[in-house]
């Protein structure tokens, strides 16, 4: 009997520990959304973001009421900040899908701590991205013309245009990201429902209860849920490839030197993941201090992300190199000129920023010490964000400013409305992200629990 009791005790101890571990995860994540008063830093950040967003709204107001002549691209550099920002934002979105889908398929369990916020970031970034081509059309209220529908003019969208591909790719991406994000959140919303119900807050319990669709966490439900989640991840992976590839087709299907090159699709995808990771950690490094999530978003996770940035940064560097090599190898004088012009032409400084931020800066991640120092990572991530913005600018502006004919040559300078809109999308992005961080389950609670060693407690080996 006594030996049986001892076994029982150790069993209870193990069970108790496991329970405590699960409860701790729930508590630590829910704490963020349940705190009665938001953190001061959160309020300050939200205020700043809203102000920035207001600047953007004003810029949009001026733009829509006056016309896109208020932007600086009313010369031959007809795609300038707007398309640069579009590509930049879309690229940032890609890390979210990559973290949630590709790392899921490749069983990188470290993703569970960051996937939810990365997915949210994807959605917000795609929203910001979508604004730019929409506004660049000049009459955004006719955007619905891009949806094939029977109409009095007997016209249909021109599906052979890469710009139409963009419409389909970006809207599919947006839809898929939202569904994926939401589906992942359902079990956690159920957690919120139960917590508010236990506290007697009926209104919140009903809201979260409806949002979680009445999730019960039954094994039969989990079975289909996991299968569908896996398949969604499998679908999102080629989708994420296709979206930035399609964005790159906007350029690469043309004949403009510097745009028309076959490496563009994978090169854009690598760049997108690169910038996306930089953005995720620009956001999460402060957030894990602010919301006390350091034991969930662990140093190892940040380190793994640094390695991915190093890898994708090197891929981008490889693409720069092969572009240069092939520009020379092709023997095409226009190609050759374009690349010399990038490095030494009037936009040389943008090229300099691009190479140093995208290729040289991530090389610092070779060192473990760098990968373990959050403040350094934060600064490097900021630099990478800047560098990736300049990469898109270099591709777009330098090629347009020095096209085939010298009579097309010009220089691009942004106006205050260009800047205002860009700043405004930053404001929108941060506003949405801060709201998300306050009201939604910012960490995938059920997935974190499933990845704990305690998830296997009591199993017979």
């Amino acid at each position: 009997m006594s030996s049986a009791d001892a076994t029982m005790d150790s069993h209870h101890a193990e069970a108790g520990k496991a329970r405590e571990a699960f409860r701790a995860v729930t508590r630590d994540v829910a704490w963020v959304a349940e705190a009665p008063k938001p953190h001061k830093a959160w309020l300050v950040a939200l205020a700043i973001s809203v102000v920035l967003f207001a600047i953007g709204l004003y810029s949009i107001y001026v733009l829509v009421t006056t016309g896109i002549g208020v932007w600086g691209n009313s010369n031959t550099v007809c795609w300038a900040w707007d398309i640069t920002n579009f590509v930049w934002w879309i690229g940032i979105g890609h890390a979210g899908t990559l973290i949630s889908a590709v790392l899921y398929l490749t069983r990188q369990t470290w993703r569970v701590s960051i996937n939810r916020s990365a997915e949210a970031m994807t959605i917000f970034a795609v929203m910001c991205a979508g604004l730019f081509p929409l506004l660049h059309t000049g009459r955004p209220w006719f955007a619905w013309w891009m949806i094939p529908h029977p109409n009095d003019m007997q016209m249909w969208p021109q599906f052979r245009s890469p710009l139409m591909w963009d419409v389909f790719a970006v809207s599919t991406y947006m839809t898929t990201s939202i569904l994926f994000w939401y589906m992942g959140m359902v079990p956690d919303l159920a957690t919120f429902r139960d917590r508010w119900a236990a506290r007697g807050d009926k209104l919140r319990a009903i809201i979260y209860g409806v949002l979680c669709l009445g999730w019960r966490g039954s094994a039969r439900q989990w079975h289909r849920y996991e299968r569908a989640y896996l398949i969604l991840a499998g679908l999102a992976t080629p989708l994420v490839f296709s979206v930035h590839s399609v964005v790159s087709f906007d350029f690469a299907t043309s004949q403009l030197p510097g745009w028309h090159t076959t490496i563009f699709p994978p090169y854009f995808v690598a760049g997108a993941i690169f910038s996306g990771f930089a953005m995720v950690f620009t956001l999460l490094i402060p957030a894990r201090y602010l919301f006390n999530l350091k034991h969930i978003i662990k140093d190892e996770h940040v380190e793994a992300a640094c390695k991915i940035m190093l890898a994708t940064g090197s891929m981008v560097g490889l693409a720069y190199a092969s572009e240069f090599f092939i520009a020379w190898y092709s023997g095409n004088m226009f190609e050759g000129f374009t690349f010399i012009n990038r490095a030494f032409g009037p936009f040389w400084w943008t090229y300099f920023i691009m190479v140093s931020c995208n290729v040289l800066v991530p090389q610092a991640f070779w060192f473990k010490k760098v990968r373990r120092t959050p403040i350094v990572i934060f600064c490097l991530c900021l630099l990478i964000n800047v560098g990736m913005w300049f990469e898109r600018f270099v591709i777009i502006a330098t090629s347009l400013a020095r096209a085939f004919l010298p009579s097309q040559w010009s220089y691009y300078t942004p106006t205050r409305y260009d800047v205002g809109l860009f700043v405004g999308t930053l404001g929108l992005f941060f506003t949405l992200f801060l709201l998300f961080f306050r009201y939604a389950p910012v960490i995938a609670i059920s997935e974190v629990k499933g990845a704990l060693p305690e998830a296997h407690a009591g199993k017979k080996h």
Binding site: T106, R107, Q108, T109, E226, L230, P238, F241, S245, F249, A252, T253, S254, Q255, H260, T261, T262, I263, F264, P265, P266, K307, L310, A311, S314, M315, L318, A319, A321, S322, E323, I326, W328, Y329, S330, G331, N332, W366, G450, A451, P453, H456, K459, H461
Partner: protein
């Protein structure tokens, strides 16, 4: 995502024993037989094919070895790409602290240790090139710097071929050979490093060795990507020396990984058939190999489509010419076969979980993908075999690959295409067999337990 561990089954036979010797003997036998057949085929071949394709030597005689050497480049690229694909798995496995592949890693290492043998075999086309054989790579031909244009009067006008002259320094037999040696040294050394460390761990069981391989895999991956891209540019893309595509190296790598994972699956299975590793390698591992085959089938299609669609859309003559000779005439049927056989068919079927887990079906698709991987290389190289020639002041001057009338541009399939390919497969098997020694499993790898217990969701 299980953290369950398993230990090696007590009855497991994980020693190579005589396996390597046997395999290397089989490989050497295959290579010897098929090389002999190939040489006989060349010696007794009629010379019209070579002459019609514009391959003549300095004396004006048909260069009958040209077809053999083209096939040699294709077959060599095939075995080289398999090693390249498998090596990527090793690098990735270390880089991301992979788990599932630990049980098959030793076999993968043996495959990459074949690199030196592969590169020695490659001398079969590099030495003739350096020795002045000018009917393989057009850029090595004395006519390469020139172009012929037929004037309205019927006379020919010769002019400089500027886009080619421009790079004849890079694409010269000497410099090519130097780069070839660099690729050989880099690949062989990197493969040897990872294999040696891995074997050291069998002795000592030191987990630090895993760590040092992980650290090394980062820079190795960078070097690997660079060298793979450049090798693809040099050996395959320069077959049509005026044509260029920046994605070419990546597309080659995608195809190489399809071949690599298929070959890995087949070899692991072959080893299991000898009664070894029967407890360790389970359908779970085949499932993962199948997943990678599927992923790279998709990835290859993605790169190939990107390359094609962008050049088709841009419609620049210097780019579309490469596709023009592949999408019309006889070659269009090969293109369609590749589209359906290398992508559509395996893509649809490998999607299913069961195709990857049921061993006979995986074997079918592995063999299938290897055949189509070869066909894809064939499709990349062989259209360059036809060098239209034009009369010029009484002498014939070759116009180079991708010139002339498409109607006269034949696939010209010959038995040599198959025999040379098989001979080189023999070389690869020989190289692998030489390295199948000792343990077939990294017995003291810290992740082995996880790998043995690996389960797919």
């Amino acid at each position: 995502m299980s953290v369950l561990q398993k230990s090696l089954h007590p009855d497991e036979k994980y020693k190579a024993g005589k396996l390597g010797q046997g395999l290397s003997r089989i490989g050497a036998g295959i290579a010897a037989v098929f090389f002999a057949i190939s040489i006989l085929l060349v010696v007794f071949s009629d010379t019209d094919t070579a002459r019609n394709a514009g391959h003549v030597d300095a004396a004006g005689e048909p260069a009958k070895w040209a077809r053999f050497l083209y096939d040699y480049v294709i077959g060599w690229s095939f075995i080289f790409s398999i090693c390249v694909g498998v090596f990527w798995l090793i690098l990735l496995h270390h880089l991301v602290r992979g788990r599932w592949a630990t049980v098959v890693r030793r076999i993968a290492e043996a495959m990459t240790l074949a690199f030196p043998w592969v590169f020695v075999a490659g001398l079969g086309f590099v030495i003739p090139l350096v020795a002045g054989y000018d009917n393989l790579y057009y850029w090595a031909h004395p006519d390469a710097g020139h172009c012929l244009e037929k004037l309205a009067s019927g006379a020919c006008h010769e002019y400089l071929n500027p886009t080619l002259v421009h790079k004849l320094g890079w694409l010269s037999p000497g410099f090519f050979a130097v780069r070839y040696v660099i690729y050989a040294v880099v690949f062989s050394a990197m493969a040897a490093y990872f294999a040696r460390k891995s074997r050291q761990q069998d002795e000592s069981g030191d987990p630090k060795l895993s760590e040092s391989m992980r650290v090394a895999s980062g820079p190795a991956m960078v070097v690997y990507s660079l060298v793979t891209c450049l090798a693809a540019f040099d050996i395959l893309m320069s077959m049509a020396p005026k044509w260029y595509s920046t994605i070419y190296g990546v597309a080659f790598w995608g195809s190489a990984c399809v071949g690599g994972f298929s070959a890995l699956g087949l070899i692991v299975l072959g080893i299991q058939r000898t009664g070894r590793l029967t407890h360790s390698v389970t359908p779970e591992h085949y499932h993962d190999i199948g997943k990678w085959m599927f992923s790279f089938t998709f990835f290859w299609a993605y790169t190939a489509f990107s390359q094609f669609m962008l050049q088709w859309y841009g419609n620049l003559p210097e780019e579309t010419v490469w596709y023009k000779y592949r999408l019309f005439g006889e070659w269009q049927w090969v293109s369609i076969a590749i589209l359906v056989g290398f992508w559509a068919f395996p893509f649809v079927f490998l999607m299913s979980r069961w195709t990857k887990r049921i061993v006979p079906s995986l074997v079918f698709f592995a063999v299938w993908q290897l055949v189509f991987h070869w066909l894809e290389l064939y499709w990349n190289v062989m259209p360059s075999y036809d060098w239209a020639t034009q009369a010029h002041d009484g002498a014939r001057l070759s116009a180079g690959p991708l010139t002339g009338n498409i109607a006269y541009h034949h696939v010209g399939f010959s038995p040599l295409d198959i025999t040379v390919w098989f001979a080189l497969i023999g070389v690869l098997l020989f190289g692998i067999g030489r390295n199948l020694r000792g343990n077939l499993i990294p017995v003291k790898d810290p992740t082995l337990g996880l790998s043995l217990a690996h389960e797919n969701l």
